[in-house]
Amino acid sequence: MNQDSRESRHKRPLRKAPFVVITAFLLLWMIGVATGEPSRVLEQAIQVCLSCIGIG
């Protein structure tokens, strides 16, 4: 890493938007988990979805 990029590291502020977005979706995921959704997802995912593969 050259000197210019070391300088720009100090110049550029930390972007906060990604952390807000990640936190919001993490909360959404937790709500989904709290409603028991993963067990439904698992139920679906362990069955061969015939319509998904264009057969059923």
Partner: protein
């Protein structure tokens, strides 16, 4: 760096498809790992798949929403949306470039020597239509007599599902061959067309029809890991235009929703260190100076 990316694609492809017992069981993996979300488009009915496809699951959940609500189950797809939202916030379409098996297949097909063609930018809006209409609206709105919607994208379009799941399942379960009809023929033709198109154009499915790519593209401005353009160093030589497999003009649009962060512009094109990889605004790396010949997008 390009070699590292290829290895990551292979490893992620293997990890999301690491159940190799199907030649003996003649069916798909049915273990608990399938509660984990695949980062890329990877059909969960693929015999080797160990994770669930977020697009397939969300369509199934939305299709069954009325039935679920009637039974007091609030399955709105929040866990799936949350999973891909976190991935989108972290990586955005970097996942398309580094962790999607179907993207990798298209890249390999594009290596077949042939005349190469550009994809008109207008077609890139098609994937947003597929995301909104085929993944959300139609499964939610068009329901049968039991109040159940269908996974429209998986059922009528998804070439990844046909390639990774449909064809292997027909091979593994011969009794399924009797049920082949127009539905399968439609999907088979779509798959063939996209695979042929991938030989002549770079990543045509990712750019024109992938709903997961469309979702990750929504994070292009806010994702944690992305490429940064140092405008003071950029000479507008346009070298980055010629190497991008997604047709991005990086110096004109550094937060382009099509950018899959393959790093081709940074490593193969820019000689002025104007492009760097950053995490949340902090520079992570500059070019590895492994300049290589450009390929037509």
């Amino acid at each position: 760096m390009e070699r590292v990316r290829k290895w990551v694609q292979v490893i992620v492809g293997f990890l999301t498809n690491s159940s190799w017992s199907f030649p003996f069981t003649n069916t798909i993996y049915q273990g608990p790992l399938k509660v984990i979300c695949a980062p890329g488009l990877n059909c969960y009915s693929c015999p080797a798949a160990t994770t669930y496809c977020p697009m397939g699951s969300i369509q199934q959940l939305l299709g069954g929403l009325r039935f679920a609500l009637e039974n007091g189950q609030y399955y709105f797809g929040f866990s799936v949306l949350g999973s891909i939202g976190v991935l989108g916030g972290l990586f955005g379409r970097l996942i398309c470039g580094w962790a999607c098996p179907f993207g990798f297949i298209q890249e390999l097909l594009h290596k077949i020597p042939s005349r190469k063609f550009r994809i008109p930018r207008l077609l890139s809006y098609g994937k947003y239509m597929f995301l909104l209409l085929f993944v959300v609206v139609l499964p939610l709105v068009l329901v049968d007599e039991f109040g159940t919607g269908h996974p429209w994208f998986c059922k009528f379009v998804c070439p990844a599902g046909t390639l990774e799941a449909g064809l292997p399942m027909l091979f593994l379960q011969p009794n399924l061959r009797n049920t082949i009809g127009l539905l399968f023929l439609n999907k088979f033709v779509i798959m063939i067309l996209f695979l042929i198109w991938a030989v002549f154009s770079s990543r045509p499915f990712c750019r024109t029809a992938c709903p997961l790519g469309a979702f990750y593209a929504l994070f292009s401005r806010v994702r944690l890991i992305k490429l940064h353009l140092d405008e003071a160093k950029c000479t507008n030589c346009k070298a980055c235009h010629h190497v991008c497999p997604m047709g991005v003009k990086f110096n004109e649009s550094p937060d382009d929703p099509e950018c899959i962060t393959c790093l081709a512009c940074m490593n193969k094109a820019c000689k002025f260190d104007a492009i760097s990889l950053e995490i949340g605004g902090i520079p992570l790396a500059v070019a590895d100076r492994g300049l290589a010949p450009a390929s037509k997008p």
